[in-house]
Amino acid sequence: MVVYALFGVLALVALAPVAIALNASARATALVYSASLMITLIVGTAALLALTGYDGAGSAVTLPLGLPWLGAHFRIDALSAFFLAVINLGGAAASLFALGYGRHEEFPGRVLPFYPVYLGAMNLVLLADDAFSFLVSWEFMSLSSWALVIAHHRVRENLRAGYVYLLMAGFGTLALLLAFGLLAGAQGNYAFDAIRAAHPSTGLAALVLILVLIGAGSKAGLVPLHAWLPLAHPAAPSHISALMSGVMTKVAVYAFVRITFDLLGPPDWWWSLVVLAVGGISAVMGVLYALMQRDVKRVLAYSTIENIGIIFAALGLALAFKAYAMHFAAALALTAALLHVFNHALFKNLLFCGAGAVLSATGERDLEKLGGLIHRMPQTAFVFLIGCTAISALPPLNGFVSEWLIFQAILLSPQLPSWGLKLMVPAVGALLALSAALAGACFVRAFGIGFLGRPRSDEARGAQETDTHSLAAMYALAALCLIAGILPGLFIDTLAPVAQMLTQGRMPVQTGVEWLSIVPIAESRSSYNGLLVFVFMTASGMIAAFAIHRLASDRIRRSIAWGCGYPDPGPLTQYTADSLAQPIRRVFGTLVFSAHESGEMPPPGSTAPARLTVKMRDPVWDTLYAPVADFITYASERLNVLQFLTIRRYLTLVFMALVLLLLVLAIWP
């Protein structure tokens, strides 16, 4: 299996020179995306089907590449098979979408060569079985996605986004490098097998945990390392944004799970405190940021931060249960986290594709300039609505199932023996509940302002329905969202080998439960039946529609929209994205963003418009990034002198450095 997956990676990477050779013609666009679609679809389906067959050992291969004494180890076990499925199915959907969307690309030559390489690099990260090939593939993934972020480099913001992204990616890789260095120990054996066999001391393990949280967390977008994410994800073309947000963040989650659950040995109880806190804060902060944005793609990018927070909170919970050998509860929390990984990949892909369809139809990303699209792009609106429902965790769709499972795991927390966790877990639960509610508001806002009402600009008025390929991709994702929501038992059972491998526990088998219900703990405690909810909702909706149209008048009456009493009922007098966010901004914004509103009324008799100015500051940027940036600027100005030394001075510097290192070696105990 691992060999076939590697061939898939090779085929993807080989597409890059083909794309360059074809010189970005229309044929190249079709070829690259359809080939990527085929490869990712095959690898993803194979991984999904093979998932149940894997235990801890998996299938491995060692290639004579990379470091001469190490070679390049690759392996597929249950965990990487699951993530392979997520990444390749997401990649397949994005490729299908791009078959249509990519035709509008202004500079295909800047996108096509990097796209398959990016997909291949993500696959390679999941296959890597030693620290060296892991880090190389990780960096490969970062660099190829960076090239995609700055594909439209004439836009000033994109260049800045690329710059910040490159810095943060380098920083994150550095943290991972140090983490692996600590894990490999003094012997420097970088194969994962050797790392797994060696158990680091408590202090060392704590340091590794922090480094991994920084390294993987910065790629995943955990607060406060998220600053690059809302800049970089929207800057790329939409199918790339979908991949970065829906899929690449999952690779980061994989890195975290692989190291903390698999390589680092048995966890300490307090590890989970850190992870839970970071996860809970990311969830709430992410969705609050999302609510304040006007750019659709930025809303989606910030909502990724929220979902990553939810996933990390569930992972922290799994760590806590694992530390106290509560295998069953750990399996529940881990399964919930992984299911949310899968679900988020589906609906975030779907939503970014929808945003891409809107962007190519109107040329607008600003919510305040959209509106009324449900009449002009009815099918896009329909699938986007499904995505919004799923991400807001409403039944019967998939988002509900995973978040419900996470809350089931939270409800098991009173059984934890430690008081710190007993207090912490419910607090995080409250944060998650808050973020779930705010996410609902956020997507009501995104859908309502974007698709409902009357068009707010000429571009929105002239929008056309998007092409069939894009629609096919979005329908496929929406269908998967629905299937995963109705048949969650199937997915939970598929994840059982992963949970078994990482927590030594497993959830009860779900496929045998009657009527497709899921029973995570015991029948007496809780159960959920997605099918029943779906049937009930469909039936009651149809009965209601039937009743209204049959029993009441079915005449359609068209009249002028009510202008709320304004004399000039232009489209701009509608409810806006900012006005929808205002109550939430007033409640949370003053505290979190130090938001400040000032109204300015014209004097009586004047016909000048009244103005409302809102000032917000990003607390993370102000307190964390700005000082670091200032320091780096200061230090590099000081060190700039080193650029202009004489040859002899340079030689002296090298010489001194050598002597110093030798001295250290001589007096090292």
Binding site: F644, T646, L651, L665, A666
Partner: protein, 220 residues
């Protein structure tokens, strides 16, 4: 191992360090080139002895390369350059001789301490050899740092490379191809540096590298 073979290897490597010290206090270019030729001769002897001790015939080739290029071709060529440039009487020293010698002694002590600690398990011949080789490398670097004239820097670089060859032959099982490529890279470096010397001279009328710094604009 025979006590005598060890002693002779020890003596030859030690002499190489000694000759490096001699280079350090030669501030006249023509005599510096002579000492460099001596350096290469001692290296040749040392490599040949290693070839004899280790029964490694390919090391004789290394010794021959060292002799032909470093003891004959390069010194002759350097001398011609120096005469052609008319700087064979020039004095060249930045740091005082005493200070340079003191620093050199410190470096030798340092490399002894480091090498003897690091290679505790290696066999004694290789250990001593490596320690001396590191000293020669460090002394070569020291020479490059303390000299101002480009020719003496070239010589510093070449003697540094001699230290590397000493280390390579001391360790058993170094493939011949590596040594040959090292030897040729040195030759190429010599050619390149030689060309540069003439170019520098043509342009700036001197091979004092401080002149270069002046022309880069940050010194007046």
């Amino acid at each position: 191992m025979n006590k005598l073979t060890f002693d002779i290897a020890h003596m030859l490597a030690g002499s190489l360090v000694l000759v490096s010290f001699m280079q350090l206090y030669q501030d006249r270019l023509s005599s510096l080139i002579n000492i460099f030729a001596l350096h290469a001769l001692v290296l040749t002897a040392s490599v040949a002895w290693q070839a004899f001790v280790q029964h490694a015939p390919h090391l004789y080739i290394t010794a021959t390369i060292a002799f032909v290029f470093k003891a004959v071709v390069i010194p002759v060529a350097l001398r011609r350059i120096v005469v052609k440039l008319g700087i064979h009487r020039e004095l060249d020293n930045v740091v005082g001789v005493g200070l340079a010698m003191l620093a050199g002694i410190g470096l030798v002590a340092l490399s002894m301490v480091v090498m003897l600690r690091v290679t505790a398990e290696a066999d004694p011949l290789a250990r001593e050899d490596l320690a001396f080789a590191l000293s020669v490398v460090l002394l070569g670097l020291l020479m490059m740092v303390t000299r101002r004239n480009a020719v003496s820097q070239v010589i510093g670089f070449m003697s540094l490379e001699n230290g590397l060859v000493l280390a390579a032959t001391g360790a058993k099982g170094m493939p011949l191809v590596v040594e040959i490529s090292v030897a040729f890279s040195v030759l190429i470096a010599f050619i390149v540096i030689g060309i540069f010397l003439f170019r520098i001279r043509e342009r700036f009328d001197t091979v004092d590298i401080q002149a270069l710094d002046r022309f880069r604009g940050e010194r007046q």
